[in-house]
Amino acid sequence: MSTHPDTAAFVRHDALPPQDPPASEVGMVHWLRVNLFSSIGHGIMTLVALYCIYALLAAVVPWLVNGVWDADSIRQCREKLDGARGGCFAVIAERWPQLLFGNYPSEHYDRASLAFVLLFVAIAPVLFFDLPRKMLWFTGLFPFIAYWLIWGGSIWVPVLALAGVVLGFFVYRALAGRSFFGAIIAGIAATMIFGFVMLGPIAGLLNSVLNISLDPVESRQIGGFMINFILGTTCIALSLPLGIALALGRQSNLPIIKTICVVFIEFIRGVPLITLLFVASVMLAYFLPPGTNFDLILRVIIMITLFAAAYMAEAIRGGLAALPTGQYEAGASLGLDYWQSMRLIILPQALKISIPSIVNIAIGLFKDTTLVSIISMFDMVGMIQGPILSSTEWFGVYWELLGFAALLFFVFCYGISQYSQYLERKLATDHH
């Protein structure tokens, strides 16, 4: 019987000890080879990209590092820089109140800031479902508090407006058993009638009895990033219910309602926001009774809300269309009427599906609030383009100001988009 040692020159009897993998297959080198230099083409692209990053950093880093934060004017900035490359950030250090608050009276910045902070308290329970539901009470009160803080004036105006809403709610509750839709309409009507007819006289009466008021601030004094924020949050909040109504109208099988909604949505989506803002600034006054004179901010809020509602409606319609017909049929077979099945079955699911598009529209809307600078409102961009860049001290400081504006918008918009991704993960009920 021949064994291996007879036929082979050498046979190993014990296993080799395991060796480390080759240097090119582990660690940094391997990572570089796979991710950056996997082929000649990729290698060239990597080098080009590295050069671009270098060029960009070489331009931006000295500009940031050498930046002057303390100067009175661009001339002083240049003197301090003495030919070196650097930004003149002193403009932000000096003009940040204008950039953030516009011409808001400086002694009341604390009021506006408080409203801004409270906004986050109010919005938190809407955004994060783990928070105690009782906080929603504050969310409901917030619009009235914020109005009072920002515009000032007698406390009775927002209090009575709140009372009007409460009245409308009770009217709704009283009628809700009969017809949901009718109750909603009646509730809104009660609030409107109370607001338009009774609010003024009663507020005057209460004011003469007990006068609690803050210094009033006029709308034209409000500006800067504050106005972008006011417009953004108000219009997003108002356009959502309107968008739901339009989407339901467009999906309904009542031909006249459907036509009205389709025409409205397609018209609004077909024209640029700028033209609607032109309407707000010059045309809307024509359509109101002679002698009515209401605030530019309010007119702009109305037009941006209508604009956003049309887009919201399309996003929600997508969600409605994505639901299987079985869901509608299930609602009907349970004996629910149209509003019940919409409220309890269809809308919760449809809205969940449309969250990504709704958030995209919200981000777009927030960015679009900068367009009001074109109708001569002094929002963030309007402030930069107008009073600051045309002042003798800061004539020609574009980069720092526009960069600051871009950074602020980026922080908020990126934050919202990250939140939307968190929400999608949280609401996902399927098991992928």
């Binding site: 991710n35 099988n253 006249i256 309602i257 032109f278 504006a405």
Partner: protein
């Protein structure tokens, strides 16, 4: 004999208009229509009263009045003595110019960035996501202003090109990038140039026929003929031959430094370039996201199947993945094109005279005809939007997956 399930025969009574689902719809619609008519009537009557109080009327006659202002960038000849109508038309053409060029550049940027964002190259993929996030999360108006200021501040002024000790020089002696715009050579069409153009068009048709023939050969016989060298030769040779045979009928008029500024050539205004670049880069970031989503929507099995057939990565992308991704990305891209067109109305911010700048800007302010000007402006944008979505929907239907 009637069955139990037969509905009881009831005569109609008024209460059913509210309580019977068969008739309630009519009631609601009637009320809605009534409310709408009332709202419109109220608004129109207010408008009539307001206009009467101001002593104005609705009259489009101002369009035939003399405009009296200049437009710095124009495609068709325009003088300040022309009518408002003509000024508006110049504005329309400017809007269309920036919208069309913007859509083209945005598509190129978007497709390249979208594909590169999925690249295996870690650095490139990261860079592209940074680009997309930065551009998507900052308002387009701020981008327009930033690009405009890059143009205005980072580029040399025309005066630096003058004199013997000029600090700036023209690229290839033909292109001058200045802070007041870009100067390009103007092609001059001399006698006989029509022949050259004709030959060029014929050679394009020949290339198209060649590709058709090559595909026919590939599908019917499985033979591959080299289309690229033949196509390139067809593209260049006949046109060049015609050009020299006809005695060089197409010349270029180069921009030259005059006493104060460049003369001759074409001047493309800085405002136009700023608007065009900013809109394209901004919309490109959104299109890149659509492209990425569409590519990821093509199942991985498709890529693997193509790879197992022996296709190279470039061909997998162009022959297998992109054609399938195209179907997914068209509808969202249509709305991006519409957004770009509508955003071009921000031209006002940099002083580019598009329709919003002429009809909705100077004409409106000069004549005070805000009502009419804004109506016309809206009608124009509405028509453009409907036209773009109509055309793109036709295209969408032609590439859509044909199902049973």
């Amino acid at each position: 004999m009637s069955t139990l399930s037969e509905p009881p025969k009831q005569s109609f009574h008024m209460g059913m208009l509210l309580n019977d689902t068969r008739y309630r719809g009519y009631t609601f619609q009637f009320i809605a229509l009534l409310a709408l008519v009332a709202l419109f009537g109220w608004m129109v009557s207010n408008a009539v009263a307001n206009l009467a109080a101001l002593g104005q009327d609705i009259n489009f006659g101002f369009l035939s009045d003399q405009a009296g202002y200049d437009i710095n960038q124009q495609i068709i000849p325009y003088e300040s003595t022309d009518t408002h109508m003509r000024a508006a038309f110049v504005g329309v053409l400017n809007t269309l110019l920036v919208a069309v060029l913007g859509c083209i550049l945005a598509t190129i940027v978007g497709v390249v960035v979208g594909v590169l964002r999925l690249s295996n190259n870690w650095l490139i993929a990261r860079l592209m996501s940074v680009y997309v996030e930065i551009f998507r999360n900052v308002p387009v108006l701020i981008w327009i202003l930033i690009v405009f200021n890059v143009m205005a501040n980072a580029l040399p002024s025309p005066s630096t090109f003058r004199g013997d000790d000029a600090t700036a020089s023209m690229l290839l002696g033909a292109f001058a990038f200045t802070n007041s715009g870009v100067y390009l050579p103007l092609p001059l069409w001399l006698e006989g140039s029509i022949v050259v153009v004709g030959v060029f068009v014929v050679s394009l048709i020949a290339i198209w026929a060649l590709r058709r023939y090559a595909r026919h050969l590939l599908y019917s016989e499985g033979r591959v003929i080299p289309t690229l060298p033949i196509g390139l030769a067809l593209f260049v040779v006949p046109t060049l031959l015609a050009f020299f045979i006809m005695g060089r009928p197409i010349a270029l008029e180069y921009p030259e430094m005059g006493r104060f500024n460049f003369q001759n050539g074409i001047q493309v205004r800085g405002s136009f370039i700023a608007l065009w670049l900013a809109l394209s880069l901004y919309t490109g970031a959104f299109i890149a996201e659509n492209v990425r989503g569409a590519i990821q929507a093509v199942s991985k099995g498709q890529t693997e199947a193509a790879a197992s057939l022996g296709l190279r990565p470039g061909r997998i992308m162009s022959l297998v993945v992109l054609p399938q991704a195209l179907r997914v990305m068209i509808p969202p891209n249509i709305s991006q094109y519409l957004n770009l067109t509508k955003n071009s109305s921000l031209a006002a911010a940099v002083g580019y005279m598009d329709i919003t700048g002429t009809l909705g800007g100077v004409t409106l302010n000069q004549t005070g005809r805000s009502f009419e000007a804004i109506l016309l402006l809206m009608a124009f944008y509405l028509a453009i939007s409907l036209a773009i979505s109509g055309i793109m929907n036709l295209y969408n239907n032609s590439v859509k997956l044909k199902e049973r």
